[in-house]
């Protein structure tokens, strides 16, 4: 009856992905259209209207410079919202119990959730690239690097979203991290400006901000412009993924927020 080949329940894992994809496709406007429209407005106002009055940065048009930041902002938001809502709604409506009573390992549950997070982030990113192409601003110097940043950042924020989804006991708590940390840190992480443009006392904050390395890494992948050693960014992304991954696995294994 069961096809639990080896120690991995592949069909169970695929079922989690199918279920979450079906849930996501019930709200396509919220999931995809909203970030694309938001990105279009950012590109138009900051890149096209305001950017038209700003001189080139590192030999690139301002629109080309700002696009990776806008893209990263949306990837971060899509990833975080996807995983928080997956976990929180499963807890809130109690259908998380379906997976708890099934022969699924914690790793399979986590990988299932993250797969949909990455899929949503990649589709969001591709849509923004298509919009930017209308403004002749889409370029990718290194596709491998581009994919690395989209996938690794979506994994980091997907994992962070799982932790918040497990911790939150009401809808307001779901937004706390986004309002007080993610949005401010991403804006001062170099979405619209170089670190060189910041006042001296803020520069150290940029270098201590992981968002700076994410945006810088994606910018390097897209237009070849970088203000920091790329390997530091790779280390930050992989290090955070590892730490958050182990933390999430631990929370699942003790049943935090899942089991009574």
């Amino acid at each position: 009856m069961n096809a639990l080949q080896g120690s991995i329940n592949w069909i169970g894992l695929w079922t989690i992905i199918r279920r979450e994809w079906s849930r996501l496709m019930r709200v396509p406007i919220q999931a995809f259209l909203a970030p694309w429209i938001s990105a279009l407005l950012f590109i138009f106002i900051f890149g096209f209207v305001v950017g038209g009055r700003i001189s080139h940065i590192g030999g690139h048009r301002y629109l080309e410079f700002v696009l990776p930041g806008i893209l990263m902002l949306n990837v971060v938001n899509a990833s975080f919202l996807q995983s928080t809502s997956q976990i929180y709604f499963a807890r809130f409506m109690r259908y998380v119990e379906e997976t708890l009573v099934s022969p699924l390992s914690y790793i399979e549950m986590i990988v299932g959730i993250l797969s949909v997070v990455v899929a949503r982030a990649v589709i969001t990113a591709l849509g923004i690239l298509a919009i930017a192409a209308l403004f002749h601003a889409t370029q990718i110097v290194s596709i491998a690097e581009f994919l690395f940043w989209i996938v690794s950042v979506s994994v980091v924020f997907g994992l962070l979203g799982i932790i918040v989804g497990l911790w939150a006991n009401n809808f307001e708590q779901l937004t706390i991290l986004n309002v007080f940390f993610i949005t401010p840190l991403s804006f001062i992480g170099g979405v619209f400006n170089t670190v060189g443009m910041l006042p001296g006392w803020l520069k150290w904050m940029a270098y201590a901000n992981p968002f700076f390395y994410f945006i810088n890494g994606l910018r390097h992948a897209m237009i070849g412009f970088s203000e920091a050693n790329a390997w530091i960014g790779v280390g930050v992304a992989l290090g955070l993924s590892a730490v958050l991954g182990v933390s999430v696995w631990r929370l699942f294994s003790i049943g935090y927020g899942l089991r009574s």
Partner: protein, 249 residues
């Protein structure tokens, strides 16, 4: 012979120190139709949650056909099907998807899942409702979906927590027939219910829990042959008020 379910010294204490189950021990033999009775708050659902993996036992041991339900939880869960008391589903999902996804979690391949989903939808008279979302269904139909979902993996141990609550008389009787059929074919069934008539009709063994522990257990005949039958035996075991007991006897 290894029991279908072995619970030994189970204790479940919730976060704020509420003791739901205290030093609970019992066995359910393979092929038995086991009735697990008790008043509200006695610890029935907490026990079931610990057995099925929805709650973590504070201490004690649970084995499903000899498999440790905590240490070897994946193997243990393959053997169980649970129909919980409360509706724990994605209410915006369609009926077929709810049942199909559960089969998927259990590693069932698509053709096998489809055949089983079709059979269960037919069995529980859900054909006209198969493409509806769960939230569109009436209470009785929702209960049928929960039962169909619990049976998707053809479990060796079927756990039913108040399976006929809110269900109409017709379905209740159909369900009784189906459960008796399953039990005759060798399936072990663990049932909680507040309907004593249901327990009396279906179960071979009855266990009564009160304040987190077993207060009485034995073959059904021991209970029904007492003066006042099962109801009086139940009220005596749970320490009901004398006037209530007098009414039953």
């Amino acid at each position: 012979m290894t029991p279908a379910l072995h619970v030994s010294h189970l204790r479940k204490v919730y976060g704020r120190g509420t003791v739901a189950v205290d030093d609970l021990s019992f066995d359910v033999q393979e092929g038995d139709f086991f009735g697990f009775l008790g008043p509200n708050g006695a610890g029935k659902s907490s026990t079931i949650h610990c057995i099925a993996g929805i709650a973590t036992p504070t201490s004690g041991k649970i084995e499903i056909f000899g498999v440790d339900a905590v240490k070897n939880y994946r193997e243990a869960r393959k053997l169980i099907g649970l129909s919980p008391q409360e509706f724990n589903v994605d209410t915006f999902a369609k009926v077929t998807d709810i049942i199909d996804w559960m089969g998927g979690y259990f590693g069932m391949r698509k053709p096998e899942r489809k055949a089983r989903v079709d059979m269960l939808i037919e069995k529980f008279d859900l054909v006209p409702h198969a493409r509806k979302t769960f939230r569109e269904l009436s209470g009785g139909l929702k209960r049928r979906v929960m039962l169909a979902r619990a049976m998707i993996n053809d479990p060796k141990l079927l756990i039913l927590d108040e399976p006929t609550a809110g269900v109409d008389v017709e379905l209740r009787r159909d369900l009784w027939r189906y459960l008796q059929e399953l039990n005759r074919d060798g399936k072990t069934i663990f049932l909680t219910s507040h309907y004593l008539e249901e327990v009396e009709r279906l179960c071979a063994t009855i266990s009564i829990i009160g304040a987190g522990n077993i207060v009485r257990q034995g073959p059904k005949a021991d209970f029904v042959n007492e003066p006042g039958g099962l109801e009086a035996a139940y009220l005596r075991a749970t320490g009901a008020e004398p006037e209530l007991l007098a009414g039953a006897v």
